[in-house]
Amino acid sequence: MDKQKLKNYWSVLSSNNLGMLGVGILLMFLLIALLAPLIAPYDPSVRVGGPFIKPNGDFLLGTNDVGQDIFSELIYGTRVSLLIGIVAALISIVIGCLVGVIAGYYGGKIDSMLMRFVDLILVIPFLPLMILLAAFIGPSFWNIILVISLISWASPARVIRSQVLSLKTKGYVEAAKSIGTNIRVILTKHILPGVIPIALSQFVLAASHSILIEASLSFLGLGDPFTKSWGTILYYAQARGAFLTDAWVWWILPPGLLITTLVIGFAFTGYSLEEILNPRLRKER
């Protein structure tokens, strides 16, 4: 992507309120994740007080069932949720790009076979399948990422394929083909630059899904027990019956609000990216 194009994207993005809000939210969470040791008053894995303390001057959001500071847990949880979301989305987009570009560029039998396979994956109820796989391979940080990305690549692959299909008919690609340009050069010089913007918006949307899925898996007790995400915090809150007491206000409400805000941040960014890339959408709204 050349600089002029980038500048154009930026000018549309910054004129789009939702998009700016989304980017702002993402930057805020990135900052929290990076500066976690500075923001969090305590080490979230250490007992710093009695169990089930109500919020007070020392503990902003009280303590959990084993006396760890909930506020610090949330701050450090940002790292886990954000990292799992981004890495899982990255892997699914790389697979999705690979499948989409191959299917779209080569067409014919390869295309129809790959797309059949994508359709198959889209039929399977994904959350139960992830639960099944996570239960068998065991709960750990990387297994969660593996399980999410194994299934989430299918729908980006479809979107990227259709983009490749339309790029293929562009004059410059046909011209390059007709003068016998190496396939590798066509793919990297002509196809890939046209795919990257779409892949970027798909990545952002995939990240928002991955964060929700990770939260669900962790809530079902399939998260990594050693790296606590927001979903894991809610799992313990549920297991200790926090929703039956006043503790729901400081133990259950905040993690869910954080998940929702982060997902919204990704979604706003993703949708406005799509709008920028698809001028027809821009006019319609």
């Binding site: 139960p128 669900s216 079902l220 007790g221 979604a267």
Partner: protein, 325 residues
């Protein structure tokens, strides 16, 4: 037409075949003792004759292809094996839990479709206005919330704090209610899980209805009707909405897969005794055969619903039938 259905049928058959094969391979390929995966974590406490019986039952000493044949035959005849943790045949457990899940997801599907269609149509009709923007924002927020969290918040407020609804279960235990009283009891237990399910799944219908309605509103016949001076109400309901509903019909069944997944998590929050909760219980106790069986039954339901959607779609949209044959 027939070709279209046949193609779909083959596709679903392949899905079922792949999932069965995955289920067959998982316990046999994972490192560790396959007995644990076939009989559950309690296998350590079993006597050697019991272990031998399990090995025999699953034919683990047979060649792998013979094992596979036995496995397929068992599933086809509704024999999902035995849950050693719950000490009951798995098919009994499934039959006991399935009605509750069907009640929850069935009602959830209908209600969220009605609400999504209504608001989607309003949003499209008033596109570009404040109403449209507000509706879009609300529905986007709904889809960003974790389902289980919505459930927990609802329980905290409406059950624990206000005492309006029961905290868990599908009906009151040991109450021996009958007739209308039992119905009311069941509905009271259903209210919160159902609300949660509708809240988290309504957005997809809303988005599709809005988009579909927008494209219908741009059609020539709508302009024509407007030019002729047809009343706004008639255009809205008779011309636009009816035609915009078609794409919604396709996702109606397709969203069942999403709903069943969502139900897994929601049933867990409310301890609602459906298949999803059964899956969670089996994950907690590492009862692997039961995890697999619940996954299979959910997959079967989704595939059946998809097939059903494909069968009724040509009836709804005559164009599809003609184009395909």
């Amino acid at each position: 037409m027939g070709k279209f259905i046949a193609g779909k049928f083959v596709q679903y058959a392949i899905v079922i075949f792949l999932m069965l094969t995955l289920n067959f391979l998982l316990p046999r390929l994972m490192p560790g003792n396959p007995l644990v995966f076939l009989a559950g974590e309690d296998v350590g406490f079993m006597s050697s004759s019991e272990k031998e019986a399990i090995l025999d039952e699953h034919g683990l000493n047979d060649p792998i292809l013979v094992q596979y044949g036995t496995y397929i035959k068992n599933i086809a005849t509704g024999n999902f094996g035995f849950s050693y943790q719950q000490k009951r045949p798995i098919s009994d457990l499934l039959m006991e839990r399935l009605p509750w899940t069907l009640l929850l997801t069935g009602l959830g599907l209908v209600i969220s479709t009605v609400i999504g269609v209504m608001f989607g149509a309003i949003s499209a009709w008033k596109r570009g206005t404040k109403t449209d923007a507000n509706l879009l924002t609300v529905f986007m927020f709904l889809s960003a919330m974790p389902s289980f969290w919505v459930g927990m918040i609802l329980v905290s407020i409406f059950s624990a704090q206000l005492g309006l609804f029961p905290v868990f279960g599908a009906e009151s235990a040991w109450s021996n209610l009958t007739g209308i009283d039992r119905f009311i009891d069941i509905m009271k237990h259903l209210a919160l899980p159902l609300t949660t399910l509708v809240l988290i799944s309504v957005t997809s219908t809303f988005m599709i209805m809005r988009y579909s309605m927008l494209s219908v509103l741009g059609e020539d016949y709508i302009m024509m009707a407007k030019a002729k001076g047809v009343k706004e109400k008639v255009i809205k309901y008779k011309h636009a909405m009816r035609n915009a509903l078609l794409p919604v019909a396709t996702v109606f069944m397709l969203s069942l897969g999403f709903m069943l997944g969502g139900a897994t998590v929601i049933e867990t929050v409310f301890a609602y005794p459906g298949v999803g909760r059964l899956m969670f219980e089996s994950v907690l106790s590492r009862d692997y055969p039961l995890i697999q069986a619940t996954f299979l039954i959910i997959t079967f339901s989704v595939v059946l619903a998809n097939l059903f959607a494909d069968l009724i779609y040509p009836i709804l949209d005559p164009k599809v039938g003609k184009n395909n044959g």
